[in-house]
C-alpha cells in the first residue's frame, strides 16, 4: 500500500504525466467542435448509430462519442505507454537499482506500478468524461436522449456513459498488462510501448478479416467497444460479461508472466 503511494508521488514529478492528461482531455473538446460544425449525420462512424444520429444537437452524446473516438487507437496508445514506463522507465534512468537496493519485494514493486498505471488511466478517463459532459453542456446544453425507439433520461444516459468508460478500462487493463510484460523484457520504455501497441493494432487488423472470426471471443482487443451493448433496450449483457471475463483473464495472465520475468531478472544497470 505504501509503495502504491510512493509511486503516485513519483508520478507527480514526471512531465509526461501532465502532458498525457492534457492531451486526452482535449479529445472531448475536439469532438464537441466537430459535432458543432457538422450539419448532419455522417454516413459512417459513430454517427451511423441510430440514437446518435437523432441527437446530434444534444450535449449528452459527447461523452459517448469521445469514447468512441478514443477506443481504437488513442486509448491503446496511452495504455501501452503508461504500461511500458513502469519498469523500463526506471531501468533507463538507472533508478531501478536504487530502489531495489531497498528491502522491497520485486513482486510488490511490480504490483504497485501496475496499480498506479491503471489508476492513472482511470483518472485520465474520468477527466475525459468530465470534460466531455462540460463541453457538451456548454455547446449544446444537456437534454434527455431521445432515440427513434425510446428515451433515456439525462441521469440514465450519464450513468450508462460512465459505465461505458469503466468497461473500456477493463480492456485498457489488458493492454497495460501486455505493456508491463514487455517493459520487464526490454530495457527500453519506447521499445516496450511500440511492441505492445503494434501487437494490439496487428491483432485488430487480423480480426477484421472474417477468416479469423473464430478468434474473436478470445482476444481482448475485440472488446474495445463492448460498452455499445449498454445502449440497447433492454441491455444485452452477454457480450459484456464475456468481455469482462476475457479481459480479466488476459490481464491476470500477462501480469503473471511479467512477474515471473521480473522476479529473477538480473539488474545490470
Amino acid at each position: 500500500m505504501k509503495l502504491l503511494w510512493l509511486e503516485i508521488v513519483k508520478l507527480r514529478y514526471q512531465k509526461r504525466t501532465w502532458i498525457g492528461l492534457i492531451g486526452l482531455a482535449v479529445i472531448p473538446i475536439i469532438v464537441t467542435i466537430a459535432i458543432y460544425l457538422s450539419d448532419g449525420p455522417g454516413s459512417g462512424g459513430p454517427t451511423a448509430l441510430p440514437f446518435i444520429a437523432a441527437a446530434l444537437r444534444n450535449g449528452i452524446i459527447v461523452p459517448i462519442l469521445s469514447l468512441f473516438g478514443l477506443a481504437p487507437f488513442l486509448l491503446p496508445l496511452a495504455a501501452s505507454m503508461v504500461g511500458a514506463f513502469t519498469i523500463a522507465g526506471e531501468w533507463e534512468t538507472g533508478t531501478l537499482k536504487t530502489i531495489l537496493g531497498r528491502p522491497v519485494r520485486r513482486g510488490s514493486l511490480l504490483a504497485a506500478k501496475w496499480g498506479v498505471a491503471l489508476l492513472y488511466l482511470f483518472a485520465a478517463l474520468l477527466l475525459v468524461f468530465i470534460v466531455a459532459v462540460l463541453s457538451g453542456l456548454v455547446a449544446f446544453g444537456i437534454d434527455d436522449l431521445a432515440t427513434p425507439f425510446f428515451t433515456y433520461t439525462v441521469a440514465t444516459a450519464l450513468w450508462l456513459s460512465f459505465l461505458s468508460y469503466l468497461l473500456a478500462l477493463a480492456v485498457v487493463a489488458s493492454v497495460v498488462s501486455l505493456a508491463v510484460l514487455f517493459s520487464t523484457i526490454t530495457g527500453s520504455s519506447l521499445t516496450a510501448a511500440v511492441m505492445a501497441l503494434v501487437l494490439v493494432i496487428v491483432v485488430q487488423i487480423l480480426l477484421s478479416f472474417s477468416y479469423f472470426d473464430f478468434l474473436q471471443p478470445y482476444v481482448f482487443t475485440s472488446y474495445f467497444t463492448m460498452w455499445a451493448d449498454l445502449f440497447q433496450e433492454p441491455i444485452v449483457w452477454e457480450q459484456i460479461v464475456k468481455g469482462l471475463i476475457c479481459t480479466t483473464a488476459w490481464s491476470a495472465g500477462l501480469t503473471g508472466a511479467a512477474w515471473w520475468r521480473f522476479r529473477r531478472r538480473d539488474i545490470l544497470i
Binding site: T93, G101, P103
Partner: protein, 318 residues
C-alpha cells in the same frame, strides 16, 4: 574475534561464457573497514550486485547477519545499505525528497534522520536543490547518505571516491574512517591501493573473480617501509642506525641512506640520530614499496578481464 556479519559462500556468477565471479569466499567481521581491491573488470561490481540482491548468483550465496541473499533479500537489506556503480536518483526531485522516498521504502523516514545524514555527507545546504543539477561528486555523497539513512549495521560502497576531486576524496575517506570508528562495518570496493591502505583495516585482493590474497592491511604490505635518510655524516649515522632495535636494513644509496623499517620506528630513529648529533636534513619515503608491489605481483600484467566477443556482448546487454 568479532562475529562475521557479511560473508560470501562459493559465490559464482557466469555471464554467457564469461565467469565473472568464481567461487568467492569472503568473511567480513563486525567493525571491519574491508577493502575489496582489484583491477577494473575483476568482478568487484558483480559481487556487490549480488550482495545487494540485484543479480542472481549462478552458484553460492551471500549471507548478511545470518540472512541469505537472494533467498531472504528483504530481511538482509534491512541491515545493509549501499550502492553499486554510480548512484542514481530521481533528477526532478530534491535531495531531501529522494531520501524521503528511499527511506520510506526501508520502513520510515524521519525528517531529523534525513537532516542528519545530509549533514554528515556535507549536502545540508543543497538539500532542497533538484538532484538533476547535482555534480557527480554530489551524487556520490548522496549515495552514501542514502546508504546510511536507515542506520544499517553494514555499508557496502562501490568505488565511493571514483570521480571525486581531491577534496571530495579526502572528505569521503574521512567519513568512512569515522563510520568504522563508530562501529559500522564498511565493505568498499576500490581499484586504488592507496585508498585501501588509507582507510581499510582488512582487504582482499581479487583478480578474475577469485581472491588472490586476504588479510589485515598491515599484513598484506611487505614488512616495514623504506625511507631515504639524508644526513650530514653518513658514517656516524650508519653506526647509530645499526644500534636501533630490530636492526633495520641500511643500504647506502649514493650520498643517502636507504633504511627499511616498520613505520612506527621512524620517529625513534630520528630521535637517536639527533641525539647523536647527526644533522638530519630529510627523511622521505622511498619510492613506493607497499601494497602496490603486492598488487601488481599478484594480479600480473594482464589486469583486464578477457574482452567479451561480439556475441557475448549481445547476451550481456540488458
Amino acid at each position: 574475534m568479532n562475529d562475521v556479519v557479511l560473508s560470501t559462500h562459493g559465490l559464482s556468477k557466469r555471464f554467457g561464457e564469461i565467469l565473472a565471479v568464481d567461487g568467492l569466499d569472503l568473511a567480513v567481521h563486525a567493525g571491519d573497514v574491508y577493502g575489496f581491491l582489484g583491477p577494473n573488470g575483476a568482478g568487484k561490481t558483480t559481487v556487490i550486485r549480488m550482495i545487494l540482491g540485484l543479480i542472481w548468483p549462478t552458484e553460492g550465496h551471500v549471507e548478511v547477519l545470518g540472512k541469505r541473499v537472494p533467498g531472504q533479500r528483504e530481511a538482509a537489506l534491512r541491515h545493509l545499505g549501499g550502492f553499486v556503480d554510480d548512484p542514481v536518483f530521481y533528477g526532478a526531485m530534491t535531495a531531501r525528497r529522494n531520501l524521503w522516498l528511499l527511506g520510506e521504502m526501508s520502513g520510515s523516514a524521519e525528517p531529523e534522520r534525513i537532516e542528519e545524514v545530509l549533514e554528515k555527507v556535507g549536502l545540508a545546504d543543497r538539500a532542497d536543490s533538484k538532484v538533476g543539477g547535482f555534480s557527480h561528486g554530489m551524487k556520490q555523497r548522496l549515495g552514501i547518505a542514502q546508504a546510511l539513512l536507515h542506520c544499517p549495521e553494514i555499508i557496502v560502497l562501490d568505488e565511493p571516491t571514483s570521480g571525486l576531486d581531491p577534496g571530495g576524496m579526502r572528505d569521503v575517506r574521512e567519513l568512512i574512517r569515522d563510520l568504522g570508528r563508530q562501529g559500522t562495518t564498511v565493505f568498499l570496493s576500490s581499484h586504488l591501493l592507496h585508498e585501501v591502505e588509507l582507510v581499510c583495516t582488512r582487504a582482499a585482493i581479487v583478480n578474475r573473480g577469485r581472491v588472490v590474497v586476504e588479510g589485515p592491511v598491515e599484513e598484506l604490505r611487505p614488512d616495514g617501509m623504506a625511507v631515504k635518510v639524508v644526513v650530514g655524516d653518513r658514517d656516524r649515522a650508519a653506526e647509530v642506525l645499526g644500534l636501533l632495535p630490530g636492526e633495520p636494513a641500511v643500504v647506502r644509496d649514493g650520498d643517502d641512506l636507504m633504511v627499511t623499517m616498520p613505520d612506527e620506528a621512524v620517529p625513534e630513529m630520528v630521535r637517536r640520530l639527533v641525539a647523536a648529533d647527526v644533522d638530519v636534513r630529510a627523511v622521505v619515503p622511498a619510492p613506493e614499496r607497499g601494497l602496490e608491489d603486492v598488487f601488481l605481483e599478484l594480479t600480473g600484467a594482464q589486469d583486464e578481464a578477457p574482452r567479451p566477443t561480439r556475441r557475448q556482448r549481445w547476451k550481456l546487454r540488458p
